[in-house]
């Protein structure tokens, strides 16, 4: 059943999800291929971009993407929503008879810090105390070495007026580098068959949705790689440093027009999003506005002057003649602020607002989309007390009674990555050629275009992931992935009682679903596994068992419960 996935050539075709079969004759180039580069002789096209004084490069070839999501506000569904009634606070969770340290909580920890757990991971976690289990996960995220830097890390694009042939070669090479990066990112997220390190990678994806950049605007793979490395490096690190470094990442400088922000001709784009989306938000915890338009304009002036050494280091460079050295008044403070002054200024003047803003996002990622403001405030205190180190906040939250409260378990809608990568892990898929590409494609088709969120505010996430279109796609892709799989029998044998159909079904359901099903539903699932067989005939070693396990897994994937983590 497992077959090599083939990639066909790309006609613009009716993309039905049923094309799951051969990865849908996937139109490879749609991912990263840039639009045709306009001719230099075309007078209607503007000049090439000046990255450094006298250094021009071509940015007139945005990457084409196929999918434009148009979702309404899924939270505005007319239903009343229960307030989160969670007993615990940030004090450490201590197992009790009512809240035992069991599979359910171990799986919960692994789902929220990674993707679906594997059985060995769950066993490792359960073998620890909750606190030690959290420490192991966070420590692994901190200590696992980063993937090695690719050979093309410092490669540059051709001179803007290089011959078309040279550009063509570069474009093809760059697509290859982007694909390498894509595959590495997916692979690191999956952590095939090994345990414990994907919190760092999952946080990178989380921070990607915080410090949003879109590959569409900058295309150049070495800049994507630098950007993603920042997400990996600082995900649990010093948030101040994170903000500082992000602002001079070439990807960000291009995405939010930092490279066009010059003395006498400021561009406010980055300054605005730095305040609104990357640090403090429009209003602080008390509801008062955090900044004025004047603050943004003045901040933009302080941020002027950055170019990118396009034909050299590939890094940002401050170009003195582009920087505005005049006096600026930001948050009531006046000085000739430059880039390095900005981060201390923001954190000194709006530290509490920043801490609340960032901790609320972390809370939404790890706990529940509707934040408990008391917990957020307590997290913010920890962040401030630790001089904006992220790791102690995450560690405390993950160890907390609040995090392990039964009410939070299963109350988040899975992102496409959580769904599909989770399925790969949970069903122990065999790593195979093109698998990363498929998974990327599945996320892409379901609205999570990694490297290119829909806009600077990122994916709205949670309920916005699911509508009638995407839910059907989710079912189909989950089933399609299952068709690529042939090891459900060996997975079944890893459960404690694989020869007992009822027990096996219960264990698989508990393994795949966040919240226990009622007995009626379990009984139905047992019947699905047996499919009319008498249960004494159930034999996971029989070749026919694979199809019945397929039926069971697929049935569970179709349950609305499976969409939640």
């Amino acid at each position: 059943m497992r077959r090599k996935l083939s990639i066909g050539d790309g006609e613009p075709i009716l993309e039905t999800a049923a094309r799951t079969k051969n990865c849908f004759a996937m139109d490879r180039p749609t991912f990263f291929r840039p639009a045709a580069r306009p001719s230099l002789s075309d007078p209607s096209v503007g000049p090439p971009f000046e990255f450094m004084p006298g250094q021009f490069a071509d940015l007139r070839m945005p990457v084409k993407w196929g999918y434009q999501a148009d979702h309404g506000d899924p939270e505005d569904d007319g239903r009343t929503r229960n307030p989160l009634r969670i007993g615990g606070g940030l004090e450490p969770y201590v197992p009790t008879a009512e809240a035992p340290w069991n599979e359910s909580r171990a799986y919960h920890l692994l789902r929220r810090t990674g993707f679906s757990p594997t059985l060995p991971e769950a066993a490792t976690v359960l073998g620890n105390t909750p606190g030690a289990a959290v420490d192991a996960i966070v420590d692994a995220a901190l200590s696992t070495p980063l993937p090695s830097i690719p050979t093309w890390y410092d490669n540059h694009m051709p001179l803007y007026d290089a011959p078309d042939e040279e550009w063509q070669i570069y474009i093809e090479q760059n697509i290859g580098w982007l694909e390498e990066t894509r595959d590495e990112v997916i692979r690191e997220l999956l952590v095939w068959r090994t345990a414990g390190t994907n919190l760092r990678e999952k946080l990178a994806l989380f921070w990607h949705n915080h410090f949003v950049t879109g590959l569409e605007s900058y295309f150049h793979a070495p800049w994507l790689y630098r950007y993603w490395a920042l997400l990996r490096t600082h995900g649990l690190g010093d948030f101040k440093q994170f903000v500082h470094d992000m602002g001079t990442s070439p990807a960000m400088l291009i995405y939010l027009n930092g490279v066009e922000n010059r003395v006498g001709n400021p561009n406010e784009n980055y300054a605005r999003e730095l305040l609104e989306l990357f640090t403090m938000g429009i209003s602080g915890p008390g509801g008062s506005a955090n900044y004025t338009q004047t603050d943004i304009a003045e901040l933009a002036r302080a941020l002027t002057g950055w170019g990118i050494d396009v034909y050299g280091t590939q890094e940002a460079v401050l170009v003195p003649q582009w920087h505005d050295y005049g006096q600026k008044t930001i948050f009531g403070q006046t000085d000739n602020f430059g880039y390095d002054d900005i981060v201390p200024l923001l954190f000194n003047q709006r530290g509490v607002a920043i801490a609340h803003f960032v901790c609320r996002e972390l809370y939404q990622e790890f706990v529940y989309p509707f934040a408990d403001e008391d917990i957020v405030a307590a997290m913010a205190d920890i962040l401030i007390a630790n001089d904006y180190q992220i790791e102690p906040v995450v560690r405390t939250l993950l160890k907390s009674a609040h995090f392990f409260d039964a009410a939070t378990i299963g109350a988040r809608v899975k992102s496409p990555a959580e769904l599909f990568l989770g399925e790969c892990r949970a069903a122990e898929f065999v790593q195979q050629e093109f698998m990363e590409e498929y998974l990327y494609y599945f996320c892409y088709e379901n609205g999570q275009r990694i490297f290119d969120p829909p806009n600077v505010s990122g994916w709205p996430g949670h309920r916005a992931w699911i509508d009638t279109s995407t839910l059907s796609f989710r079912w189909l892709f989950c089933e399609g992935l299952l068709y690529q799989e042939q090891t459900l029998q060996s997975l079944a044998l890893s459960f404690p009682q694989p020869f007992n159909a009822a027990r096996l079904t219960e264990d698989i359901a508990a393994y795949l679903l966040a919240v226990p099903l009622d007995q009626e539903l379990i009984d139905s699932l047992i019947e699905v596994l047996l499919d009319g067989l008498p249960d004494y005939e159930w034999d996971p070693l029989n070749p026919g068992a694979e199809g019945r396990l397929f039926g069971l897994f697929n049935q569970i994937f179709r349950l609305p419960e499976y969409q939640l983590a």
């Binding site: 049923a18 148009d70 796609f473 049935q555």
Partner: protein
Amino acid sequence: MCDRHVQSTSADRAIALEQGEAHNHDHNAWSRRDFLVSSGLAAVGGAMLVGASPVRALARTSLLEHLRLLETDRVLVLIQLGGGNDGLNTIVPRTNDIYYNARPTLAIPANQTIQLDSANDFGMHPAMQSLEPVWGDGHMAIVQSVGYPNPDLSHFRGTDIWLSASNSDEYLETGWAGRSLELMFPDFATTPPEFPPAVQVGTSNPLLFRGSDLGYGMALYDTELFLDIVEGGQAYDPQDVPDTPWGDELAFVRTIANDSFRYAEAIRQAYESTTNEATYPDGPMPASLAACARLIKGRLGTRIYLVAMDGFDTHANQPDEQAALLAQLSETMAAFYMDLGASNDDERVLTMTFSEFGRRIEENGSNGTDHGTAAPVMLFGSGVIGGLYGEAPDLANPDGDGNIIHSTDFRVAYATVLQGWFGLAESVTTTLLGGDFGTLPLVASPVATNPDGVPLTFGLEQNYPNPFNPGTQIAFTLTQAGTVRLQVYDVRGRLISTLVDGNKLAGQHNIAFNAGQLPSGVYVYRLEAPEGVRTGRMSLVR
């Protein structure tokens, strides 16, 4: 009448000695079925992406509705007698002493059976009396002693062998029907039809309708859910959730899920466009078949239905249980064909029963029979030539386990249906079934196939490319020369263009269509030919 599922759980379904306690567990575990979509109503997605923007599955327009009614398609209904039906007590060898000696308590007295042949060597179980007129009308065929070499007595393997049409020692991951549907719906993956190619009710195993890459069946494990859906009900209850954040989110996903079943709308429309014109017995299987009758009469377009019926594993208390099951099966079949006949749909519906095995020649010590081998396959419909086929079970020469050695391979029945009923060529069925097992001349109105092996069947293909801008090709095949008309309509039924209006030869024709300045959208193309009317739809994406 009673609900078979309830009966099958009752304690009086005692166990065969040889199986001991495990068997008892088994039967206790056969609880009532609940609320489960098996491999899902959404076998093919609730939406498709046309070009760059996601659109919801297109609602059927009145034009399409109208055009669809003109199409005729043959339907195969498979009835799975789960558990292993006792063939000897179904088609009784009423003059065979070995039978009566082997079954001192279970044998059906000869004078109670319903006469089948002029020699009166065979009779139907008396509980099947409602099939007597069907047999009399020549609308029922019985193929005796159907099985396969080296039979497997496990429910597990036996079922899979029957569903996949494999050899006894061969493990196939596709079903014979799925492989056939793959041929009938070659564009299923890229342009899925708006109806499910196959529907299965009452069984979760996706094997029968599994093709090499895809499942072709819409599987509804739960009969009640099936009925809920066709009657416009909800698959999942968004109200019945716990009052917790988890419950809130579950309600949200359930609401979306209820709206996501791709085929639900087509099914409801077909269902609501007709009524049942016969009275079916009570019970889940008759109710499922009654619903299937409405879908067939409502021209859903589905080619194969599989309805499963459980409880034939009669290790104990066989007389009452099997009689009740056979009575229900017979009454249901009689009602089904009366229902279909009211609208002349009986001519295009062929029904075939199968079971994973028959039962031991000798009765066991607990008023029942144990797992056996070959058994009769029954076919119904005005499209069959009624009568007895195959050889009578040779009770004098059983295999080493005291079981009947088959005389007709089960793949003969499949090949007969695929060739005679669906018109697939012999070379094709040989590939599908892994060999040439021959056929039986029991289909009254076989579809002609051409000698090259590729069936030349009248049909209109999906345009290519699709979506398109602005040009595309529309292909159709004629089995005979004649006057044809190919026209393009918009979705409101307005004629856009006449592409062909004149005589065409038999064979395949490719017609180009250029959309010119037409706006983006879905267009319908309609082929009228002496052989019938076909429609397709295509998407113009600017």
